[in-house]
Amino acid sequence: MIAYKVLEADGTGRFSGFRWPLPNGAPGDWVDGEVDPCRSGVHALRPSDLPYWLGPSLFEIELDGPISEIGLKVVATRGRLLRRVDAWDDPMRLAFSTMCIERARELAASDPQRLNAWVNADIDAGPALLGYVAERIAEEIEGPAAGKAERESQARWLSEHLQLGA
């Protein structure tokens, strides 16, 4: 299975602190781990999961062995990084952040007295926070399904602009 991995700029896991073997013209080395969701195993993302986990760098990862799809991620017994998704760069992060804050303002306009204070977030707050702000405003107006739909829309934006799976 091909999936995605969000890492720090130097290839370190954001929560695990694990330093991934990086691809360098060829795939990185395989990494093995026993599956225990959120604790061990190789954690990766489907395109639909990406908006929840955006960070400094994005890699395509090949997963092998039994794979569990759990919540907002997949967990496998082994994986290796295939390539850095170079399109996830500063201009793209800014474009995504801009899209999210504009969407949040558009949604907030339906109830400005209550929601305008929510969209004071600065564009520098970054894509992860601004994606969340848009989701929460949609959820506040129309309920959890609208929040989920907002995240799905963000995932489509990312897949299209980063040409994921192409």
């Binding site: 954001r14 929560f15 969701p37 959120c38 604790r39 929840y52 986990w53 955006l54 960070g55 759990i70 919540g71 907002l72 991620k73 970054g126 992860a128 926070l129 994606g131 969340y132 929460r136 959820e139 959890p144 929040g147």
Partner: protein
Amino acid sequence: MPSDGTEKGFTCREVVELATEYVDGAMSAEDHELFEVHLNYCDGCVAFIEQVRTASRLSRRINESELSPDLREKLLAAFRDWKRE
């Protein structure tokens, strides 16, 4: 599921309340995921969790017998006051 019973994820206040549970690895997989979704966009909570981790690491290096009676009493008083707040 977050403690408020919704699917909204954790608030900063809930992250503070559950920080030790997270650092000790005592959370359910579902809560653990929602907790980290919050940390992924909230730098303030990331900094707080780092402080809790550091405090947890340091406290494991101290034996009760190494504490002076005076410091031991001050710590117990602080914990008692904290629970009352």
